[in-house]
Amino acid sequence: MNYKRHLVIASALVVPVTVIAYFLIAISYKLPFQGSAEAVKIDVMMQAHFVLIAFLFSLVAVLMLYGLVVFRRREGDDGDGDHIHGNTTLEILWTVVPLILVIGFGIWGVNLLNELTDAEAKPNQLLVHVQGQRWSWNFSYPELGVNAPANERAMVREVDDPNDSNNIDLILPVNRPIVLEMVSIDVLHSFWVPEFRVKQDLVPGQTTYLRFTPTAVGNYKLGCAEICGGRHAYMMATVRVVSEACFDQLVVQQLPLAEADASCQYEAMPNYPDSAK
């Protein structure tokens, strides 16, 4: 049996299959809109993982399927296969190469994580206080001494339970580093806006922090990502990323929405995730 030839053919097949697999992943697993500076960096790593997934998938799948076809038993042949016990060189190869890959991803992961969680105060960063409770969110701006203005729930889906309606929106200025200091008064919750990519639990008895910089004006949805009981699914709120000017009107001066500039009207802003796909 000519293994070398088969190996060359199969390996050659891995290349196009990897390309196709990556293409399929890229279109089926399109990431949500990039709404924060962090999303841009994280997505680079996501794509690198996708490339690796596509490659490893193709490698195993092609070699496997190729082997099954070429080495299937032919009609009337009831002998055994070749007596091959293993190959130490190969074993070392497929231990060391993944090890190198893994170390690479490890170093990259450490660096990126340190960047994402860098706690050093940045110029013009904004501190926002987030309180989670079953099943709603509350926001305030301790440095400004104001609460987030109440609003009609334009984007959160209608539900019949009055306790459930989160009528407070989180309003954030675009392009300013945001620091959320988060507390929970009952059980665990978790802050996740998919367009921002980052997530952090809220833990009773402890303050947790989440840092990100929103980069696109628009309406986003925040959902609680840690099971918190009955109406966990509906523990949502709207996040409005607005221009600095609108932030000044709506939050700092607490103007009613109707009196704010036209560009600050929420309907004037794009909705995510609708426009994401």
Binding site: Y29, K30, M46, M64, H83, P194, K199, D201, G223, G230
Partner: protein, 627 residues
């Protein structure tokens, strides 16, 4: 009359009666004590004591403790074996029996029944999720059902692992039974009341809503449903089954191997069983501790996990994150308990159907141990967003990524086994190949969860749901089914129906691919985990409909298997001694095996997987002294 006598000879009937009687006794005891002490009734305390008593009652009445109790008072009891006197032979499968093969079947059948229960729950909440909006469940019942689905499936997997390990290992190593047959029966009979407690948690006291992880404060907060407590105790008692079973297995492998069976000549599945048992034996205690701590917090108001706790004596307040550490210290390693035996089955069957030695036997064997070892060092990768101490994040990220390496070794060894072989595609082999394809999906979607920056997006999303369903189906369900089809002729002496087996495979495998790839898609698009309803704006309605459809297909295909297994045992298709041409000892003798496995002991004289060497054998009968 005779029917009634038979019915009341069955251990399972007595186990149920005992469980009810124990529960009643516990309930009565708490009521009486509290009344005597002039305390108001406490549903929580009643429930806990009743549940604990119900387990003892079940064990006592089933008869699994009888021998041990007699020993306590100095009565010697011989090890009862063989068919029961004066009763039909099938009754031994429903009563306490000490034979490892009977116990293996008991585990296996129970596992499939529990799998069906968990599957029905899954279908129910999948129907709810088919479309956005509220369909026919309330959010509370949805939470109960998905939580129960999770833990019931885990119970099913542990039972299935028990089935494979118990049935196969003594047979493969040439032992007549497990080292401690009574302990073996105990491991099985305590799993029954535990499973019943968990299921009772769904219907008694408003169910529960914490998911299978049971994180406090949700599991301990005032007003959390009573069902939570039953789930926690069921989980707790099930741990005894794991620990006892694991000790038994380790001792059996250590001291009862056939002559000449050195470690490097054991069937590869035995290596997997060792790795699995090491994990079960050492990790289960911490989750047991965690569940007891939750129980004491609920009942006695000890504040282990309660940040507002203060008893006026200056004790420190509790910490909810402590629970997560204790929980995952067990629950990460246990995912390898789920999959290592299955991966062992894959490695065991591939050489048989490829007619070629297992590629890199020692590497495969050591990779199981490697996975088990590294598996102990990665638990906090489930907690990257939990708010745990910052210094922990990076070491756990690096350790997690290391798991990919021994996992990779297995895949490449499987490919190496096939290359150069002469492969055939009977149903067990199809399921092995399906297992590889599905486990590949599961394994490849793990590292992206292991690097923290990407996990910050994916954690607690449906991506994780897709990832772990793929690992557990690929690592347990598919190989378990492969094992069932493969050893079916050995167990029953009959051949299963090949056509139905293939139909099962061709429905279930594409169905599963669709399901898990769909789950990952909605997850990366932003769908949270454990939600009862989702936002149509995410654009995931179509995928959800597909997921539900594939869940239904998978469900039906499993029913086809069960039909096949039941009907085939009644037909005339009596299996050949060695239908697969395997070298393994159990296939060298007629099926089914006798009570003590081999009429004559065998000795190992060759390598287990030396296919392709003319005239070589793995085992031969030990020559008797006079021969």
């Amino acid at each position: 009359m005779r029917q009634l006598r038979i019915l009341f000879s069955l251990g399972i009937v007595w186990a149920l009666i005992g469980q009810a009687a124990g529960a009643a006794a516990g309930l009565f005891l708490v009521r009486a004590i509290r009344a005597a002490a002039n305390l108001p009734p406490s549903a929580e305390a009643e429930l806990v004591i009743a549940a604990m008593f119900s387990v003892f009652g079940s064990l006592l009445f089933s008869g699994v403790l009888t021998d041990w109790l007699k020993w306590c008072v100095g009565i010697e009891t011989p090890l009862r074996h063989g068919d029961p006197d004066g009763l039909p032979a099938w009754t031994r499968y429903f009563s306490v029996d000490y034979n490892h093969k009977v116990i293996g079947i008991q585990y296996g059948v129970t596992s499939i029944i529990v799998l069906l229960v968990g599957g029905i729950l899954a279908i129910i909440f999948r129907l709810e999720l088919s479309w956005p909006g509220e369909q026919f469940l309330t959010p509370e019942s949805y939470n109960t059902i998905f939580s129960a689905h999770g833990i019931i499936m885990i119970a099913s997997i542990l039972l299935g692992v028990g089935a494979m390990v118990n049935y196969l290992v003594p047979m493969m190593i040439g032992a007549s039974d497990m080292a401690f047959p009574r302990l073996n029966a105990f491991s099985y009979w305590i799993a029954i009341p535990s499973a019943i407690l968990i299921m009772a948690g769904m219907v008694i006291g408003d169910g529960w809503e914490t998911g299978w992880v049971g994180y406090p404060p949700l599991s301990t907060i005032d007003g959390s449903p009573l069902g939570t407590q039953l789930f926690i105790l069921g989980f707790y008692f099930n741990g005894f089954s794991s620990i006892a079973g694991a000790i038994n297995l380790l001792v059996t492998v250590m001291i009862m191997r056939a002559k000449g069976m050195s470690l490097w000549r054991m069937p590869i599945f035995v290596w997997a069983a060792i790795a699995t048992s090491l994990i079960q034996f050492t990790a289960t205690q911490t989750v047991g501790a965690a569940q007891l701590m939750v129980t004491t917090q609920r009942v006695l108001k000890l504040g282990f996990f309660d940040p507002t706790f203060s008893n006026g004596l200056g004790w420190p307040a509790g910490d909810p994150i402590l629970y997560q550490h204790l929980f995952w210290f067990y629950s990460h390693p246990v995912v390898y308990v789920f999959v290592l035996p299955g991966l062992g089955i894959i490695s065991e069957l591939l050489p048989v159907y490829s007619r070629k030695p297992l590629f890199g036997y020692k590497w495969v064997a050591l990779s199981s141990l490697g996975i088990a070892l590294v598996g102990f060092l990665v638990w906090a990768h489930h907690m990257f967003t939990s708010g745990m101490a910052d210094v922990l994040r990076i070491p756990f990220m690096l350790a997690t990524l290391l798991v990919a390496i021994p996992t990779g070794v297995k895949f490449f060894s499987w490919v190496g086994t096939i290359w150069g072989g002469k492969v055939t595609f009977e149903t067990p082999m199809l399921f092995v190949l399906g297992a590889i394809s599905v486990f590949l999906i599961g394994g490849l979607t793990g590292p992206i969860l292991g690097t923290i920056p990407t996990d910050l997006h994916l954690h607690d999303s449906y991506w994780v749901v897709g990832h772990f369903h793929a690992t557990m189906f690929g690592g347990f369900v598919f190989p378990f089914f492969a094992a069932i089809y493969y050893w079916y002729p050995k167990i029953t002496g009959h051949m299963y129906n090949e056509r139905l087996g293939k139909i099962h495979f061709w429905l279930m495998t594409p169905g599963f691919w669709l399901m898990s790839l769909g789950q990952m898609q909605v997850g990366i698009w932003g769908m949270r985990r454990r939600i009862y309803d989702y936002d149509p704006a995410l654009g995931i309605e179509f995928t959800h409909a597909l997921i539900t459809l594939s869940a239904l297909i998978i469900g039906w295909s499993v029913l086809i298997m069960i039909y096949n297994l039941i009907t085939s045992s009644r037909t005339e298709r009596v299996a050949a001694i060695n239908p697969w041409g395997s070298r393994s000892p159990e296939w060298q003798v007629p099926s089914p095996l006798p009570e003590f496995n081999y009429y004559r002991p065998f000795e190992v004289v060759g390598e287990p997987y030396d296919y392709g060497v003319p005239g070589s054998v793995y085992v031969r009968d030990v020559p008797a002294a006079g021969d």
